[in-house]
Symmetry: C2
Subunit: 367 residues, 2 copies
């Protein structure tokens, strides 16, 4: 299997995503990075024992001082307190403005390490080394970084692009099955919003993906990154088009915030949120029932929930609406949803509250 | 007196600094700002009672929902905890991505409100309404935002430009004398690093400035902003030239951190730091003793300290060096100083430790 590269063209912020096997612990993956006295590897307590030493080893020939900070594992730790552990590690080791931060892990570590890089001394370079499928196909690409606020997800953050993304498919071999499924949610997402051929390919290869066949994973990661790159280069800071990447996320964020971060994985909430967004699209006359069922079946096959949790004993739909008010896409108090049609086009628009209530009622488990 | 405008040319991030009297409570000062459902005024407990209502009144015709958050006053509160009060106010009021944040106050409020704007939902627009001389001539211009870390000043932040800066000279009438002097430190700074004619003008007009004569203040603010603009447009993110604006700040930050934030005002530490930086420049053969004495005399006339505090009972110079290691300009563990020559040219370079020790010993009070 040949290594592949997807390039994100953003003028002076352009960078490459390297995709392949045996990449993250190969010094050649980092050969083009700038010189620095210090580098800091940010990992969590699950990923660090598996991969941190091998990354340190790969960087040893190029960098004199290699520090590692190990964060607690989980979305619930995507907070200012944990972010501060990164700042403390940087300062205790007297890391200067040229220090390169390496985000080694999944989406939470990538978002926090990236945000720390954006803010430390008003910006130091960073490299994404995603070790989960979700991070490889989505969160490590495009420069969204940030932390959660008790009132909502990713509400505090920055657009800040990495120097490079190194997607090593071999790291996916240690991924728990639940996390693999969560990553597949973001892979599936790219079908309805942008590429029906890719949706068909995922349907045809869902068993191979679940069996972690390297060729299937390689194609899924590459095509996902290509679509994401195509969107991000047109709208880096989400003034318009980029919001389509949030397909399923408006409902999904409500589920995550409503249950408490970490109860469901982000990808699980997005999987279920896509079913709701499909159903809303149907009720607005954009897609037919067969298409909703088709995507729902695929999401279920990927091992993801297709029924939303009950977030309130009385007026569950009202609770969803309340949580979705805080969504970053909301404007003038109106919630805006990513909707799709049958030709893989996506739109961001408001929807009548009564219709949203119907969708939540139809798509959630009963108490 | 006519109102004046200084423009900062940074492509799509360009903006104007309006300088004049009766500006901040005039709706016309905000006429060109974009529409928004919400605006949030950030002020502190000293400035809010003086000016918040008048700013609210000026914005009322244009914006439907005007919120105000009042922070505690002082550099010691330039922390994550206080920053979080801004995020909480934004979220409690369901402020969306188009919300405009108004920083009404001095440098601390401007830095924190600007950083909150940089991070809230990955970036919302903001306007600087500086009410101190220091903020009008320095901190509100150029897009440096951030908070302090217990280990050093402004270590966490972002480069993030405002939509507009409104410098109302009338607000300087309520400034305590100590704060006026602190602001003059940053005015004086522009002389040695960029403009000897301006240095001469300040010497000739120091009494008028201390008496707050509007024409003198107007010229000082305008010329300071012009010089700052000239530097910032050449090097927005401080990869080189911009560091010259930190003349006096390397020593100054050590004083602030060593005494505890807020003990000395930032401008006081910078005033004293400039004496040290002049003295270091002299010992490196860049300027003569007469020039050092000239600037020192002006700094003293402005009401600023010219002798540094003792930060450690034994090895005071060592304590200064230790604190300066954390400076953002440091590279590879070496402290870098902004030095000047007699022709108003500034350089950033390392200096022998022994020489720095001599300077600290010569420029500090004895225990």
């Amino acid at each position: 299997m040949k290594n592949q590269t997807v390039r994100i063209e953003l003028q002076e912020r352009s960078y490459c995503i390297a995709i392949g096997r045996s990449l993250f612990d190969d010094p050649r993956s980092y050969a083009e990075l700038p010189a620095a006295s210090h580098v800091l590897i940010v990992a969590n307590s699950t990923v660090a024992p598996l991969y941190a030493q091998r990354l340190e080893q790969a960087l040893r020939g190029k960098y004199a001082a290699i520090h590692t900070v190990v964060l607690p594992d989980g979305e619930v730790y995507k907070t200012w307190q944990t972010l501060n552990q990164i700042f403390d590690a940087l300062l205790e080791n007297q890391c200067d403005r040229k220090t390169i931060i390496f985000a080694l892990g999944g989406g939470v570590v990538g978002d926090m390490a990236g945000f720390a890089a954006a803010c430390y001394m008003r910006g130091v370079p960073f490299v994404q080394v995603p070790t989960t499928l979700l991070a490889q196909v989505d969160s490590s690409v495009g420069g969204k970084t940030g932390i959660n606020h008790p009132l909502g997800k990713n509400l505090i953050g920055a657009f800040y692009q990495p120097l490079k993304v190194v997607c090593d498919l071999d790291t996916l071999s240690t991924l728990p099955p639940r996390e693999l499924s969560a990553g597949l949610a973001e892979v599936i997402k790219y079908g309805p919003i942008a590429d029906l051929n890719f949706l068909q390919w995922i349907e045809d290869n869902i068993d191979a993906l679940l069996a972690r066949e390297p060729l299937a994973l390689a194609h899924a990661v590459r095509r996902s990154c290509e679509i994401k790159a195509w969107v991000v280069v047109q709208d880096e800071r989400e003034s318009g088009l980029r919001a389509i990447l949030n397909f399923g996320h408006t409902f999904g964020h409500a589920i995550e915030a409503g249950l408490g971060y970490g109860e469901w994985l982000h990808g699980e909430a997005v999987g279920c949120g896509m079913v709701m967004a499909m159903e809303l699209s149907r009720r607005l006359g954009l897609v037919d029932a067969a298409y909703v069922q088709r995507v729902k079946t695929l999401i279920a096959k990927a091992g993801l929930p297709v029924l939303g949790p009950c977030l309130a004993a009385s007026d569950n739909a009202g609770r969803y609406l309340e949580l979705m008010q805080i969504d970053k896409k909301a404007q003038d108090g109106a919630i805006r949803f990513v909707l799709i049609d049958g030709a893989a086009r996506a739109f961001v628009r408001e929807a009548p509250e009564a219709l949203v209530r119907e969708v939540v009622d139809a798509c959630c488990v009963r108490l």
